[in-house]
Every structure is written in C-alpha cells, then in structure tokens.
C-alpha cells in the first residue's frame, strides 16, 4: 500500500511523567511507557484524538505537557526525526555522567 500523498510523517505522542518528570510515550493501551519501542505509532487521522487523550491524562495528573513528534518508522520501530527528540527517547544525555563518567575517565588515564 502506498501512503496517501497528503499524509504527513508518522507520529508518536510524548510527555513527561508528573511525579518524577521522566520522558514517556503513549502506548497502544493508553498507558505511558519509558521505551519508545513500545509507543503507539499514529497516522494523521489519529493525532487529534491522541492529543486529546494526552490532555485528559494531564488533567488526571499522570503526565505533563504532552505533544506529538515526527518519527521515522523502520521495521515497526519509531525513531524520532529531530535530534532533540532522539535524545529524549534515549532517556538521558548522549554522554556518560556521574560515577560512570568518572570510571571512564579513570580507565582512559590508566
């Protein structure tokens, strides 16, 4: 099947959890997952309803600031298009930090 010429890129809905602030993605069951591989991939015509659901979940004090991001889907897995969202989806910075960084620098110095 060819995708309709008018349709935009696939999307997923993302937010931060209210209690601990961590990045989450809307999953197919209406829950929120830390793993973008488990995110629900949305077509154009599903976005509005998903964002409305995000707003409800915001009101229900589960998440904060939900919004949709563009993703590239490869073998069923969503990969964010923008670098900002790629980094968010990685659940942390692109560099090692804290004790792990200290260990790495110590190893490099030896």
């Amino acid at each position: 099947m060819f995708k309709a010429a008018t349709s935009g890129p696939a999307k997923v809905v993302t937010a931060n959890r209210l209690d601990n602030g961590l990045v989450v993605f809307l999953d197919p069951q209406g829950g929120w997952t830390l793993d973008i591989a488990e995110a629900r991939i949305l077509d154009d015509d599903e976005i509005d309803a998903a964002l409305a659901y995000g707003k409800e979940q915001d009101d229900a004090r589960i998440i904060v600031d939900s919004y949709a991001i563009d993703v590239q889907v490869t073998d069923g897995l969503a990969v964010p298009v923008r670098l900002r969202e790629k980094i968010r989806a990685e659940r942390g910075p692109t560099i090692v930090y804290g004790e792990a960084e200290r260990t790495k620098l110590t190893a490099a110095a030896d």
């Binding site: 004090r61 910075p93 692109t94 960084e101």
Partner: protein, 553 residues
C-alpha cells in the same frame, strides 16, 4: 562566612513548608500545571529535557564544608550521584523527582541553603569573584556587599515581577574575575585615596541573543548608598523596561534604547529622592555584615617560602604543573588559593560526583578553614591553603580525578548543559567541549598555547557565555543538524569585549578541526610566547583566522 539569623532561617523554613503544600496540591490535582509552573520556578524547579531540574542558589559562590556534604548527600539519595556547577556559581541537579523536592529543600534549609530566586523574573543569585576575601590583588572583599544585596533582594516585594530576570555581580579587585560588565548591574568595589570604600557602577550589560557591554554610570558610589542606588536602578528598569517583548525586556535593551546618559539621569533623580531613606546603610550594619566575612582567626602569616612545598615540587612534576597553573597568591603570607578544576580531560565541564564533593568538603575542613568557592567558570576553589599543605591537597585531589592542572588553559572550557539536558537548547555543548579537551589534552601543548578561554553555548540564550569566550562556540540547528558558529576575541574580564563572528558555521564533524585551525593560526602569528591569544587577536584582527578557516577571499 555569613550565618543565617533567625529571620533568614524562619523565612527559608516557611518557604519549604509553603512549597511542600504546593507540590502536594499539584500531585493531588488541586493545581494545574499552568497554575503550578510559576510556583515551582520560584523555587528553582524546572522541567527539562529528560526530567525535572533543581537549581540551588550558592550566594556569591561561597559554600562551607557542611553544605557541600549536604549537596553530596542529596546527589546520592535523590539524584543520580552527581551535580552540575553552573556559570552563575549555582548547582543544578538534573534528575530529582518532583515528589522529593520538598524533602530536598528541607535538607538544604538545615544547612542554610535554598533554591529561591534561582528562576523567574526577579533579582537572581548575586555572583562575585570566586577569590573574594583571599586574593592578594583584592582592594575590598565584595562578599559583605553581595550579602547585603542578597538580603535586600530576597523577596523584595517591588521586584518580584520585573520585566525579565536581573543579575548582579560584584568584584573587589582590578582584575575582574566576575565578568561584571556583562551583568545587569556590575559593581566594582574599590578604595579612594583616603581608604574610603565605594563602587564603580556598571549597568545594562548582558549576553543572550543581544550581547551588550555595560555602561559605567557611577565612578565611585559611597558604600552606604549601595542599596539606594541599586533600588533606584531597579525602579527605573521596573517602570520603563519593556514588557511587550520578552526578547527586549532586559535592562540592557532599555539602556541601549534610552541611552546611558539619560538612564543615569533617571537613576540619579530617583536616587536623590530615596538615598536618605531607610536604604542608607549605617556603618554599624556594614561592619556587622563584614564581621561574618573576617578571615579565620587562625589564618595567620607564615613564611613566604615553604621548604616542604619547594622540595615536593622538584620531585613531583604533576604537583609542580598544578601549582603553576591552578594556584594563585593569597593576601596572607605563606598561603595560597587553589582552583579545583572540574574540567578533567574529556570530561563534562562543571560536573562533580557525590564522592568528589565529599572529598572537597573534607579537604576544605582540614586545610581551607572549611571554605569552598564556586567560580563562574564552573570550577571549585579552596581559598585558604597553607603553602605547606599544597602537596597533600594535590595528592588527594589527583587521586579523585580533581587534580587537572588546566585553570585558564584551552581545556578549562565553559559549557552549558546544552541539548544533552536542556529543553531550550538547539545543539549539544558537552560533547564539543569533551572533544576539544581531548584534542588539546596534552599538558605540553596546553602550556605552549597558554591562556585561552573557550566558551560553548547550545543556544542563543548564551548560558555558556560564548560571546565573551576568546573563542566562543554557539550551537545552532540547521535543517535538523547541529552546526557551530565561532566567535573570536570575546572577553569577560576588565577589558570586556564581545566576540566577533568569524564566518559561516561548522558541522559537528568539522568544528574541532576549525578550533584547532584557529589555535594553530594564533601560534603561527603571535609576536612571542608571552602574547596570549586575546592580545594576538586584538592586534591581528580577523584576517589571518578567516583566511586559515575559509581560504583567501
């Protein structure tokens, strides 16, 4: 150091209780995010790229050992075992859970710390020379005045909703280590011929998307007038600063659009009205605050030369290099000030693990009369070390990965958290800093290059101070890719200048080579080894650097 009085402690304790209630109401749904956001920001809680972020105030960059130990405890218990020291001498935790923040603030309050006014359109944490009260070249200790300003500006009812945030920096030495000319108000404490203390007052400096150097509007403001004069400046700004456009709302824009002379006239007019009010500082009050900052009683002169140190320097090349680079003279004979570099080669600028913080606290207690400072260049400082103790201090720092001998050198890079952490960033800063650090990591090469300040920002808000970097690097996003624009010739010292854009930006792959080209061009063109990068650039101008980067035009 200043110690909270009953009013300070009560105020901070009440604020923790108030915020605890606000967090409870947010989590129970009584407050929406729109209602809660301004409340959390007033308490230093941001929602960043990956998680909440808590920014903790370090007034004028001064900490005691107990406070640093508490920061380490919080890092371990509530965060991910580390913290990030910022260009405003503050500390940020990148991973606290909202539900834990009231407990964190309660712990902080127990050691006289808080996160109040670390965000929002108010007067932010007052910053100062990190060597204050210790530097041999200091005329006046700026900390008592910074403390007086802190007390005046804390929850000042008139200045809680300014057009935009407002930053004050104070120094008391001719050598400006506090970048006062790129602050909303910069104060330079000095003495006149009779020994009287006064301030040169600078206003309207700033970085961000519209960098500007402050204008001096007073040569020598008597110390008793510091509050009335600052209040007059804030009043003029609060009345006439723009509120229609957040990008034009800082006082630098007001000063620029109105003209420094007219601003001075308005400030002076308001000052005349209020200078004899309750804001006039009595000598007794200045002396009362100064007493908190007296040198430790047992910090007494020692022989100017240390046999122990001199002997150790001969046999320990690492120590010798560290003394040369990271240690500067103290005002008391036989003592020194040491910069603890938070810039290990290839590391994240400004980060310290809980274990490292505890070590610094231990060393401060044992060797530095319990005092620690944070510099705006994202390093720590032990301000009061006996020369005899330097070998032991160095050995302990070195074992903990804190002995890097690079203060002021090419690898002592300022970098904002950038797109690795920050919701506003367009590009990453930290990996660029790490790659530059690795490229120039050899001590011999760093020594050959000499003083060179590289400053990196991941967006135009310029938290990484790139405008005043000798080499400034600004990250931008272009068609989904990170690009980096180089500026040359900036400086944040007493000869402040804004760096000039050298040409089109470089991709992430190209930018390290570009920086190396700039450095090599400097080495090839400098008059001699004593002409540092900034002096050479000011003499040479852009041309040789442009040609080396982009070819002959």
């Amino acid at each position: 150091m200043y110690r909270y009085d009953e009013f300070d402690q009560e105020f901070v304790t009440e604020r923790v209780a108030q915020f605890r209630g606000q967090v409870e109401r947010r989590l129970s749904g009584e407050l929406t995010e729109d209602q809660f956001k301004p409340l959390r920001l007033m308490n230093g809680v941001y929602l960043q790229l990956h998680a909440y972020m808590l920014r903790i105030a370090v007034p004028y960059g001064t900490l005691n050992a107990e406070q640093v130990r508490m920061l380490a405890f919080i890092a371990r218990k509530y965060d991910r075992g580390y913290g990030h020291f910022t260009t405003r001498q503050n500390l940020q935790f990148h991973w606290p859970a909202l539900k834990d923040v009231p407990d964190i603030l309660e712990h902080l309050a127990s050691v006289e710390m808080h996160a109040i006014q670390t965000s929002g359109n108010c007067i932010r944490n007052v910053t100062a020379d990190q060597f204050a009260g210790a530097a041999a070249d200091e005329a006046v200790d700026p900390r008592p005045y910074a403390e007086i300003l802190r007390q005046w500006s804390s929850l000042h009812p008139e200045f809680v909703f300014l057009p935009r945030k407002f930053k004050i920096a104070v120094t008391g030495a001719e050598r400006d280590r506090a970048a006062i000319q790129v602050h909303d108000i910069g104060l330079h404490a000095k003495r006149d011929e009779s020994g009287r203390i006064g301030f040169a007052v600078y206003v309207g400096g700033g970085l961000g998307r519209t960098p500007m150097i402050a204008h001096k509007i007073h040569d020598f403001l008597p110390e008793e007038d510091i509050l009335s004069y600052c209040e007059a400046i804030l009043r003029v700004y609060n009345l006439f600063g723009r509120r229609d456009n957040k990008y034009k709302a800082r006082i630098k824009i007001l000063v620029h659009e109105t003209g420094a002379e007219e601003i001075k006239r308005q400030v002076d007019a308001e000052w005349e009205r209020i200078r004899h009010s309750a804001l006039a500082l009595p000598d007794s009050e200045i002396e009362r605050i100064q007493a908190y900052f007296a040198l430790p009683a047992d910090l007494t002169p020692r022989p100017a030369e240390s046999v122990v140190l001199n002997r150790a320097r001969v046999t320990n090349a690492g120590l010798n290099q560290w003394i040369d680079q990271n240690v500067v003279p103290h005002k008391i004979s036989g003592h020194a000030i040491a910069t603890i570099s938070l810039k290990p080669i290839g590391g994240t600028p400004g980060d310290a693990t809980a274990e490292q913080m505890e070590l610094v606290a231990d060393l401060a207690e044992r060797y530095s009369h319990g005092e620690i400072r944070v510099s705006h260049e994202q390093n720590l400082v032990l301000p009061h070390l006996a020369l005899d103790d330097l070998p032991a201090v160095y050995e302990a720092l070195e074992r903990a990965g804190l002995g890097t001998a690079n203060a002021g050198l090419v690898t002592d890079i300022i970098a904002c958290p950038g797109l690795d952490y920050c919701a506003l960033a367009n590009a990453r800063s930290i990996p660029i800093a790490q790659r530059i650090s690795e490229r120039f990591g050899s001590q011999a090469r760093q020594n050959e290059i000499g003083d060179l300040k590289i400053k990196i920002s991941g967006c135009i808000n310029a938290c990484g101070h790139h405008h005043v970097g000798h080499i400034g690097i600004l990250g931008v996003e272009k068609k989904g890719e990170e690009f980096y624009q180089l500026t040359l010739g900036g400086s944040g010292d007493e000869t402040t200048s804004i760096g000039e854009i050298i040409g089109k930006g470089f991709s992430s792959d190209e930018v390290i080579d570009a920086v190396e080209t700039v450095v090599d061009t400097y080495l090839a063109h400098r008059a001699n080894a004593d002409e540092d990068f900034l002096a050479a650039y000011r003499r040479l101008g852009q041309a040789p650097f442009k040609e080396a980067l982009y070819g002959a035009t």
